[in-house]
C-alpha cells in the first residue's frame, strides 16, 4: 500500500495530477488562516516594552521558522533523491529553494525593520543574524548551481549534495542565541518550559506560522508542477496537456 503510493507519487504524471487537486485546498486554508491570523495579530495588546513595533514579529518569527523548516524539507528530499533517484523528490528540492530563499530574505528584512527602532541599528554581525544570512547564501547557491547545469538530473544531484552539506547550518542557527552572547534575544516559544509570552500574543503567532506552512504547501506544489512540465516537455502526456489547453 505504502510502497504503491510512493511508486505512484514518483511518477511525474501522477504527481502533476494530484498536486493540481491539492493546490486549491492549500490556497483556501492558507487564506482563511491568514485572515484570522492577521486579525488577531493586530487585536493583540501592545508589548509593554516594545509598544506596537513588536507586531513585526508576526511576520518575522513565522518567516524565520519557515526559512529553516523549508531547508530541512529540502535536505530530506535531497537525501531521498540521492539514495533512490526519485524524480519527484529531485523536483521538490529545487521547488523548495526559491520559496525558502524568499522566506529567509523576508526574515532578515523584517528583522532589520524591527532592529532599527529597538536596537538602534539595521544590522549587527551577531551569530544569529550571520548564520541566517549564511542560510540565504546557501539557498541562492543552490538556485545558481541548479541553473548552471544544463542536464536537470545532474543538476538535481549536485543541488541535493549542496543542500545536505548546508544542513549543518540549521542547528547552528537555532542554538546560536544560546551558544554565543548575541544581541538577538533567545527563543520565547520553542523551549521546553512554558513559552514566555502572553497567550493573546502567542495564539496569533502560531496561527500565522500555520498559515505560512499552508502557503508553502501551495506554492511548492505550483513550482513543482511548472518544473515537471519543463522537464517532461518531450513526453506524450505533457504534449497532450498542452494541446488540450490550446483548444
Amino acid at each position: 500500500m505504502i510502497v504503491r503510493f510512493f511508486h505512484q507519487m514518483g511518477s511525474p504524471r501522477y504527481f502533476y495530477g494530484v498536486a493540481g487537486k491539492l493546490i486549491p485546498w492549500f490556497m483556501a486554508t492558507f487564506l482563511i488562516t491568514l485572515i484570522v491570523g492577521l486579525y488577531y495579530s493586530f487585536a493583540a495588546p501592545p508589548d509593554y516594552q516594545q509598544g506596537e513595533s513588536y507586531r513585526i514579529m508576526y511576520i518575522h518569527v513565522p518567516a524565520s521558522w519557515m526559512s529553516m523548516f523549508i531547508y530541512v524539507v529540502m535536505a530530506i528530499s535531497g537525501l531521498i533523491s540521492l539514495v533512490w533517484r526519485i524524480k519527484m523528490t529531485e523536483v521538490f528540492v529545487i521547488s523548495s529553494a526559491t520559496v525558502g530563499a524568499s522566506f529567509t530574505f523576508l526574515a532578515l528584512a523584517t528583522g532589520s525593520l524591527w532592529g532599527k527602532p529597538m536596537w538602534g541599528t539595521w544590522w549587527v554581525w551577531d551569530a544569529r543574524l550571520t548564520s541566517e544570512l549564511l542560510l540565504l547564501f546557501l539557498y541562492l547557491g543552490i538556485i545558481a548551481l541548479h541553473s548552471a547545469i544544463e542536464d536537470k538530473r545532474v543538476a538535481a544531484r549536485a543541488v541535493s549534495i549542496l543542500a545536505l552539506v548546508g544542513v549543518i547550518n540549521i542547528p547552528i542557527i537555532h542554538y546560536s542565541v544560546e551558544w554565543w552572547n548575541t544581541l538577538h534575544q533567545t527563543a520565547s516559544v520553542t523551549k521546553f518550559d512554558k513559552p514566555s509570552m502572553d497567550i493573546r500574543m502567542l495564539i496569533p503567532l502560531l496561527i500565522m506560522a500555520i498559515s505560512f506552512k499552508l502557503y508553502y504547501g501551495a506554492v511548492v506544489l505550483m513550482r513543482a508542477r511548472a518544473e515537471i512540465v519543463e522537464r517532461e516537455r518531450n513526453s506524450r502526456w505533457v504534449q497532450d496537456l498542452v494541446e488540450q489547453e490550446a483548444i
Binding site: 493586530f42 513595533s53 527602532p117
Partner: protein
C-alpha cells in the same frame, strides 16, 4: 482609525514589513504560474512547427 495606522509611532517600520511580506508572498504565487505558462507556450510552438513540417 488613524491611531491604528500610526502604530504607536512605529508605522514606518511596521507597515513596510507587512508590505514586503505581501509582495514576496504574491510574487511566489505568480512566478510559478508564469513559468508554467511560458513552458506551455514553448511546447505548443514546437508542436505546431512539427505538424507544419509533416504536411
Amino acid at each position: 482609525m488613524s491611531e491604528f495606522f500610526a502604530m504607536g509611532g512605529y508605522a514606518v517600520y511596521v507597515w513596510p514589513s507587512y508590505l514586503l511580506a505581501s509582495i514576496i508572498l504574491i510574487a511566489n504565487i505568480v512566478a510559478p504560474m508564469q513559468q508554467r505558462k511560458r513552458v506551455f507556450k514553448e511546447i505548443a510552438r514546437k508542436l505546431r512547427r512539427a505538424r507544419n513540417e509533416k504536411q
